[in-house]
């Protein structure tokens, strides 16, 4: 399924962001405050852009009926106060779909197994660690059976193994994935293409190979980077110098 942002502008935050993703994993990277989350919020409809539009298979998300059947999102929202069980949280992913108790239960069970949390189904969501909660929310997104998955820093709170697992999982779903990532090396390893945002504007796009070059890293992130090859996969990986470039 094809997702396009066409000239997205939110007054004072992002200006004229245009990007596209279709049945691939696309990463959005950039420094804090560069507008990554705002761009995603426009995609999953939590925000209406002042100008521009987000199109899914050519249809504006604000005009699309049943968008939630096609698009799931992992947001940064984290102040849940209600004490749902893990299974109840994951089952919320079935809300956009026709009800079918037996099928829903199976999908919820499968989603929990996918994120390696089958044993916690009846535990209280609020009693979990940050990383476990994050995985439950990812299971909820999976249970939604989306064709577009939007992830706002999905590796937050996760240990390294679960960071790799979550991104491998997102890739393995075979759907369009649009994800904000802070870790450039993870972005290089798991994304087909990257968009780089800086101060609300799109400054580069392309494959990790094309985008993650020292000049751009210095310009956008103000750090000195060296590109090396990953010894087994061959993807570019970055090593950083201690001192900050002006």
């Amino acid at each position: 399924m094809r997702v396009e942002a066409d000239g997205l502008t939110v007054q004072g935050i992002i200006t004229d962001i245009t990007l596209a993703a279709c049945d691939e994993v696309v990463g959005i990277v950039g420094p804090n405050g560069s507008g990554k989350s705002t761009t995603l919020r426009c995609v999953y409809r939590a925000m209406k852009p002042d100008a521009g539009a987000v199109l899914i298979d050519g249809v504006n998300v604000h005009k699309r009926q049943q968008l939630a059947r096609d698009l799931a999102a992992l947001t940064q929202e984290s102040q849940v106060e209600f004490d749902f069980t893990v299974a109840e949280v994951v089952e919320m992913g079935r809300l956009p779909h026709e009800r079918d108790s037996a099928r829903d239960r199976r999908i919820v069970g499968d989603a929990l197994a996918t994120v390696d949390l089958s044993g916690l189904a009846s535990r209280s969501f609020l009693s979990l660690s940050g990383g476990e909660r994050q995985r439950v929310l990812i299971a909820r997104a999976i249970a939604q059976e989306p064709r577009v998955l939007v992830l706002d820093e999905p590796t937050n709170h996760l240990d390294i193994r679960h960071q790799l697992d979550v991104l491998a999982l997102a890739r393995g779903l075979g759907v369009t994935v649009l994800t904000v990532l802070h870790d450039l090396n993870l972005a290089a390893s798991y994304c087909d293409r990257l968009y780089v945002l800086d101060e609300g504007r799109l400054v580069a796009s392309g494959t990790p190979e094309e985008v993650l070059v020292p000049e751009l890293i210095a310009k956008v992130f103000h750090v000195t980077a060296h590109v090396v090859r990953h010894p087994t996969t061959g993807v570019p990986q970055l090593l950083f110098d201690q001192e900050v470039t002006p």
Partner: protein, 340 residues
């Protein structure tokens, strides 16, 4: 779930019969059942039981049923409002309706406003100013981006202070002390004025509200997780919150009009229910009204009997029974909604 619902329906049935039988003049249970049966089936009542029949059918039963309706309604509204504003301290009155209603009630009691309406003046006055207050809260809290939970709670709380001040001013300016006392008594909640005429509107509004909320249990779950999450799950958050606002304000307004502002029920019954079955609204919403109905029936029994022949305000009893019970349960169980 079915077992829990059946058990609570059983408890409610027993509570209603007990509530009819118990009072300053007690009617034996067997006689109560016979008289209720006779009334419902159109049977005949022996002449020597005519007095008790009058007590059971004309005085107690409507009052007990109204207690059940008010308890059910306030508990359900509490559940919905706590999810709507995502706040553990919210109750049906958080949006200013009870303090708004108190302005109308005190105006009726102390200034004789609406006196043309006779015994209905207090209810009508309370209802009108209660809804007026809620409308004001809604319009004040609304922004171009919709209703946000925090703005709703803050606006409701702030305006409630204003309305309460007006009500208090009316009470203290009242030329007659007994009028002020009547107004205060009404504010703390009473079913003393209940009769068969007060039942239909309250019952229908509460029942429709409960049916609506039961149908919206899953979107309420999503809303409890946060506005953005609910949006990504296909809930139109602004529209849904506005609907919830109207439904909860409508139920609360009608209930306040017939029973005054009974405190505690709408705050604590939702929490008590969640302590037992968890946060899932598909479980909480069927059980909370049944629990609340039984609870308020017994509260009203206590209100009639503890200081007979005087009646105590319901709000005093709900606090006296409910607060210790709630603290006991909260300390015993690992209940976390609203902070850990």
């Amino acid at each position: 779930m079915i077992a829990k619902i059946s058990a609570l329906v059983g408890v409610l049935a027993v509570s209603i019969v007990a509530g009819v039988a118990l009072g300053p003049v007690s009617v034996p249970f067997g006689v109560t059942l016979d008289l209720l049966w006779a009334a419902l089936t159109g049977g005949t009542v022996p002449a020597d039981l005519a007095g008790q029949y009058h007590i059971v059918w004309d005085i107690r039963l409507p009052r007990v049923l109204l207690a059940a309706v008010v308890g059910a309604g306030l508990s359900t509204v509490g559940v919905a409002i706590q999810a709507m504003v995502r706040n553990a301290l919210a109750d049906p009155y958080v949006l200013g309706i009870s303090s708004g209603a108190s302005v109308g009630a005190t105006a009726v009691a102390t200034l004789g406003v609406l006196s043309g309406l006779g015994v209905y003046a207090l209810s009508v006055g309370a209802f009108l100013t209660g809804l007026g207050a809620t409308a004001l809260v809604y319009l004040t809290a609304r922004t171009s981006r919709g209703l946000t939970p925090l703005r709703l709670v803050l606006t409701g709380t702030a305006l409630a202070y204003g309305f309460s001040a007006v009500a208090m001013l009316l009470v203290f300016q009242a030329p007659r002390g007994d009028a002020a006392r009547a107004a205060m008594f009404w504010l703390l909640g009473s079913l003393g004025g209940a009769n068969w005429q007060s039942l239909p509107v309250a019952t229908v509004v509460t029942a429709l509200g409960i049916v609506y909320l039961l149908a919206k249990a899953r979107p309420l779950n999503a809303l409890a997780m946060g506005d953005e999450t609910a949006t990504t799950l296909g809930v139109e958050v602004n529209r849904f919150r506005t609907h919830l606002f109207v439904v909860t304000a409508g139920i609360t307004g009608v209930l306040v009009a017939v029973s005054g502002a009974v405190g505690f029920v709408g705050l604590m019954l939702p929490h008590l229910t969640r302590m037992v079955v968890g946060a899932d609204h598909r479980k909480v919403l069927p059980l909370a009204p049944l629990a609340g109905a039984s609870f308020l029936v017994w509260v009203d029994v206590a209100a009639r009997m503890l200081a007979a022949p005087e009646e105590l305000p319901l709000g005093v009893i709900t606090a006296a029974i409910g607060v210790p019970c709630f603290i006991f349960l909260m300390r015993r169980r690992a209940y976390v909604f609203g902070g850990r």
